[in-house]
Assembly symmetry: C2
């Protein structure tokens, strides 16, 4: 019998306790792991819970109990989750987590402590909720170079974009519906500004390339600036707008890593991933494209991923899993200004004819995009591939000639 | 340094040797596993191979060499692969394989020997080529009941159906093109008759439900009877025809397991999986639907899955992985005649009006389906849910009244 502690009794934490206590026999049968939840740490009171006697407000109860071999940290946020995780690892306990913020900001340090103490720090639930992705990437890595990872990593923004695309609802209205349905929080910034997706692509990039990529290295744009005009142009162009987190290795060894809304072609495997679903594409040199799809969040999917990690820890109490990356620094990432890709540009001008001609002159090889019901003074085009810096210079020139730039959206190569 | 033997130097075997020898440093760095291919077993001669000195025609060289800890069996077929695998396991060597026929017919026996000898028998490459699926299902299983697995498991038939759907090419012509492109073999029976997909769903079912489901328990229909008329009706109905391998657990504990062409709705995540790609949907009680998508075959994808298994064996030389199922028997499977689902029926009759009326009388609640360019005497409909036996009786009655039944195709619930 292995004793487990669960830190945090919110949505995921209560799911973890439920899955362990309801599936104990099945877990025992399938994995030979006999589990019991000994402590639940939460500052709140749950006198009516069937697990009332397991609750504690004192972290030291867990830390000082040598019977507790595995701790599930499902509190979220960096503090005090970071301090608690560190203390548990230093005390020789394995820790599993769904806390993407903590893994994305402190992963290298915590993995190094786990290595020194010969215990595990696992985080399958931190990306993609119940979709197995951390382990399958490990499998791909075994015999592949990972060329690229790209994904729809945030269900809230995908729900909002899907509403905008399929129902012609504005961003504000779609956000309000998402909040009413519980898909978006009252303060939706972490989702709609792209920070949540950024943490996830940082975790995947660190895993694939072996060095910690911190969120502050990553150019991150959310979906608050996306309008129904952009959605309509994407459709005319032959695709949809999705918020994509993406990382690929460039020839000079640096990473092109970004989170931003992108035009993706309708034929892409990511184009059909709608509503609150997540989808992650892993491009290996041997496997080719492999796509993982499913619900990226939710109580039971996320909890079941946490429990799978707990079971893995129990099966490897003396035998560390090989999940690891070293610390990293900003020089690993290509400066955004130097990255190269085509974009969609939407603009307005009182003298549309002259402005379009100027755009065609500045961007040789650009392709105009037209849409039904466009305003009189509106025009749009797709540029060729160029660096962000070069393009920004040309767009400044276009602006100088009296054109207002409304949108600049990356064209994905997926 | 762990010595490995590769049995069979065909497409997959040569890929395995290539991946190991070209990725040795990367494998070492990422997994701490130092590998060397010591033997390659093949009855043919490869004097010009850079690995010429590793070849042997004598299996005993491998069996009797205690340095060889892991053997990759990539010969295909049951004999002599079965005898060689058994001998290796009995000699305390771990075995990994891409041989779905062997796993589907002898899996329980070989897994039991592996258990007794405390070594591994792994087969990630046997389903889905380079798509990680065996391990992710293990992960789902850890904390889920698997409600259903359904997939497009054979790339050759998916390529043929895609040609028929998208280009209006007949089955025969599409097959010929597939053969020219090397996607189908000269004798295409194993693919087009559904046997390959059957072996794969047997492996997935055995894994999910813990008992060996043998191919002969599974009602298996291929795609040789699918016509362009059926494809056209599927489109009018709102979907596509795909060859689906599917297993789900019924309330009485038996399995509904089948391989057959099915109508699937265009909105299903499997509907957009085209060409030689495979896609597998795993429906867990906690995770919900998770879909895995990628190239299901090919030299390097399959080889990279084999190599991932080899690395896993090396990391678990003293510590068996928990992949196991017991022997099973036919009573685990619901007889096909007793399974319940709706079907699409296409029929012709010289007195179409009377025949349609008779069909409506026999199948209350049936829904007619019409398509453009249908022959004068043709009609089609979708039935309600009923057992295969009940439906067959009603169809006999319909035939008795002078109607010829051209197609009966299952409607998927995906």
């Amino acid at each position: 019998m292995v004793q487990v502690a669960v830190m945090g009794y919110g949505v995921v934490g209560s799911g973890v306790v439920e899955v362990i206590m309801n599936h104990r026999d099945g877990i025992m049968k399938r994995s030979d792991a006999e589990l019991n939840v000994k402590y639940i740490l939460d500052i709140r009171e749950f006198p009516d819970s069937p697990y009332a006697e397991k609750f504690t407000k004192n972290f030291d109860d867990i830390l000082n109990d040598d019977e507790v071999k595995v701790v599930a940290e499902v509190m979220g946020g960096v503090h005090p989750a970071y301090d608690f995780t560190k203390a548990c690892l230093l005390a020789g306990k394995s820790v599993v987590t769904s806390n993407k913020e903590l893994v994305a900001t402190k992963g290298a340090e915590l993995l190094e402590i786990a290595r020194q103490k010969n215990v595990n720090y696992l985080f399958e639930a931190s990306v993609g909720g119940g979709i197995p992705i951390i382990r399958p990437i490990g499998l791909c890595l075994a015999a592949n170079e990972v060329i690229e990872v790209a994904g729809i990593l945030n269900g809230t923004t995908n729900y909002i974009l899907t509403k905008m695309i399929k129902e012609g609802v504005s961003f504000e209205d779609a956000l309000r519906t998402a909040q009413q349905l519980g898909y978006a929080e009252r303060n939706p910034a972490a989702d709609v500004e792209g920070h949540d997706a950024c943490r996830k692509i940082c975790i995947l990039a660190s895993l694939c390339y072996g060095k910690h990529i911190y969120p502050e290295f990553v150019h991150t744009v959310g979906i608050t600036g996306i309008t129904l005009e952009d959605v309509s142009y994407a459709s005319s162009w032959g695709g949809v707008i999705k918020l994509i987190g993406q990382v690929s290795k460039l020839d000079d060894g640096t990473l092109d890593i970004t989170v931003e809304p992108m035009f993706i072609e309708r034929s892409s495997q990511l184009a059909g991933i709608d509503d609150v679903f997540n989808g992650i594409l892993v491009r290996g040199d041997a496997t080719g494209d492999v796509v993982f799809y499913g619900k990226g969040a939710g109580k039971l999917p996320t909890a079941s991923a946490v429990v799978a990690d707990i079971i893995d820890c129990v099966q490897h109490l003396k035998d560390r899993k090989f999940v690891f990356w070293e610390d990293g620094n900003a020089s690993l990432v290509k400066p955004y200004e130097e990255t190269v890709f085509p974009v969609f540009v939407r603009a307005v001008s009182d003298d549309k004819k002259a402005a379009s001609a100027k755009a065609a002159e500045l961007f040789p090889g650009m392709k105009p995009v037209v849409r039904p019901d466009a305003a009189e003074n509106e025009f749009a085009f797709v540029t060729g591939k160029m660096t962000v810096a070069d393009r920004n210079k040309l767009l400044e020139e276009l602006k100088a000639s009296g054109t207002e730039i409304k949108s600049v959206i990356r064209i994905a190569d997926l």
